[in-house]
């Protein structure tokens, strides 16, 4: 009898461990639940993208056919051809890249300078400067945009990329506060020993910054440039006010897609299949985010993994 019990007990615990887990493993029930939840949330997350991708490949007949939900009957790329023309893709793509990459490079460079100053020197009024940096993050753009626009108008810079570069050059680029905090955290987390050693060797402060501190801050640079590029790319409020009439970015062009489409394909002139429909619009939307998707999949390691290294949390 006793022997029997002894055999049975470990069996039960084994099943229990298998289902409910132990200290080293989560157990079957939890694992299944976890994956179910992850897949469900993942689907909800991707739903707009899938919807966009599928709809953008529907031909006009598929769109009208209520039977066609998720699988188009034919692979139809006509929507993309039209969207490419409407968006004036090659031109807007190049200007979008310029408008997002140049200011973000400058932003990263200036923010590293400011972040280093805040992290390494004790000076009077530092707390005030911190408060003001946070304030620049909170103040809505429309509280400052009109005088800025008038200023650029007087300088003849409206429609010129300089209207985005100048603020970036002075640390006032789009969401610069976040990047200053990232660099501040990064430099704060470095041990001071190296810089002190360099100072003992007679290096000047600027030289220490450029040759000792900056190379070690590479992850912060990469993450700042990536995020800044993405945010500048997606920014449409400032760009549409400052660049309108001079430079067309992709999101700006998407914002007036209907108008641009009807210029190219006047509604009265084309047959019913060439009228603007949601498939063409979504093809345009997809073309809009495609460059960012490519960038994301190429650099995704940096999006996620450098965060712990650069300490994005500003506590």
């Amino acid at each position: 009898m006793e022997g029997n019990l002894r055999v049975k007990k470990p069996d039960l615990t084994k099943i229990k461990t298998f289902l409910l887990g132990s200290r080293t493993n989560y157990g079957m029930v939890f694992t299944v639940l976890l994956y179910a939840l992850l897949i469900a949330i993942g689907f909800v997350y991707l739903y707009p993208l899938l919807f966009m991708l599928v709809t953008s490949m529907k031909s006009p007949t598929d769109l009208l056919n209520p039977m066609v939900q998720w699988v188009p009957t034919t692979l139809y790329l006509g929507n993309y051809e039209k969207a490419l023309r409407v968006l004036d893709y090659s031109n807007t793509l190049v200007s979008s890249i310029l408008v997002s990459v140049l200011p973000s490079l400058i932003t990263a460079a200036v923010c590293s300078l400011v972040g280093y100053g805040l992290a390494r020197y004790r000076f009077a009024g530092k707390n005030i400067i911190f408060a003001l940096i946070l304030a620049t993050f909170i103040i809505p753009a429309q509280n400052t945009v009109i005088p800025q626009m008038l200023m650029y108008k007087n300088l003849g810079l409206l429609g010129n990329i300089l209207s985005l570069i100048l603020p970036a050059l002075f640390g006032q680029g789009y969401r610069s506060a976040i990047f200053i905090l990232i660099f501040y955290q990064t430099f704060l987390s470095f041990p001071k020993v190296l810089e002190e050693a360099a100072r003992l060797d007679g290096a000047s402060d600027l030289r220490i910054f450029f040759q000792v501190a900056l190379p070690a801050a590479a992850p912060a640079f990469i993450i700042s440039i990536i995020f800044s590029t993405v945010w500048y790319w997606n920014e449409t409020y400032l760009t549409s006010i400052f660049l309108e009439g001079g430079i067309q970015t992709l999101p700006m062009q998407l914002g007036k897609f209907t108008q641009a489409y009807e210029n190219l394909y006047p509604p009265g002139m084309v047959n019913i299949f060439d009228r603007l429909n949601e498939a063409v619009k979504l093809a345009g939307t997809f073309l809009n985010i495609l460059p960012l998707l490519v960038m994301y999949f190429l650099l995704q390691k940096w999006f996620v993994e450098s965060v712990d290294r650069s300490g994005i949390t500003g506590e």
């Binding site: 919807f51 304030a135 002075f170 809009n288 999949f297």
Partner: protein, 295 residues
């Protein structure tokens, strides 16, 4: 002693030297702040207490004191409505975004297969949430909870509710994915704080017999209280600055409208800014006491 001597090498005191170099590094930013933020802010405020007319030579200001403000708050039928809608939508969105990003961050902090794959999915929205994209997707109904918002039963149920209740629910249903999409950076912030929590705390707790559930409430959540505050602030600010935000769009349109004008838009901008600050203050009040209790 030797250290102090070292810093004296140029004949100036340590403190002066630190001040000098500190301001040297921050100098650019200070100029930028004055030119691109402070002066425009003050100017916008001046506009807001004036009737502004743009002429060929420049702009004409005619003082009207607080007329623009009272017009926005009392006379204008749309502005206050939009403002209230914005406050409600923000109050609905912030808790969802916070809880959701915390849950996802907790998931991603565990070890399981295909973690990289799921991580890729959850951060994807960070790169694609631009105004026009969201606008197109919302217009095509792609950001609502799949299938739910269109169910007849739900729309019928909503129509029986008073509008102050049904509007937030309707917003929630039609923009659910949009709210989730705004959680990307928050997930990152939570994840990096989770990874900073000392693992030995959990070990000590489990030796003392605490379950995973208990250690979540007693260790994880209290350690994340500052992060939650940061995330809530970030969510409020991002939502408030989003270019598809109805209040922002209204102010933008009024700037160029005949009966609106720069002065009126300036007044509304400041009112909007004030409401944003109020929301941030409320958020601080709600989230801060929890931090005190821990001690």
């Amino acid at each position: 002693m030797t250290k102090r001597k070292l810093f004296h090498f140029k004949g100036i005191g340590l403190r002066t030297r630190e001040n000098l170099y500190g301001y040297g590094f921050v100098f650019l930013w200070i100029i930028g702040f004055v030119v691109f933020t402070m002066v425009p802010l003050v100017q916008t405020f001046l506009f807001s207490v004036n009737q502004v007319t743009v002429t060929a030579t420049g702009i004409d200001l005619r003082p009207v004191q607080w007329d623009n403000y009272s017009r926005a708050l009392v006379t204008d039928p749309t502005f206050v409505g939009l403002l209230i809608e914005y406050v409600i939508e923000t109050l609905v969105s912030v808790p969802i975004a916070i809880i959701f990003s915390l849950v996802i961050a907790l998931f991603l902090n565990m070890n399981f297969k295909f973690k990289g794959f799921f991580r890729t999915i959850f951060f994807l929205p960070v790169v694609i949430t631009s105004g026009p994209v969201i606008q197109e997707l919302t217009a095509q109904g792609a950001t609502s909870v799949p299938g739910v918002a269109n169910l007849g039963a739900i729309t019928e149920f909503l129509s029986t509710l008073p509008s102050y209740l049904s509007n937030p629910v309707e917003y929630l249903l039609t923009s659910f994915i949009q709210i989730l999409w705004f959680s990307g950076v928050q997930i990152l912030i939570y994840l990096s704080s989770l990874q900073k929590i000392d693992k030995s705390l959990y070990e000590a707790a489990s030796i003392d017999g605490a379950s995973a559930w208990e250690s979540f409430w007693k260790i994880t959540l209290p350690s994340l209280s500052t992060t939650t505050l940061i995330n809530a602030a970030y969510t409020i600010i991002t939502l408030s600055h989003f270019s598809e935000n109805k209040v922002i769009k209204y102010i933008y349109n009024q700037t160029y409208a005949v009966q609106g004008g720069i002065g009126y838009a300036g007044a509304m901008s400041f009112l909007y800014f004030f409401v944003l600050l109020l929301l941030l203050a409320v958020m601080f009040l709600v989230l801060s006491p929890r931090r005190e209790k821990r001690r």
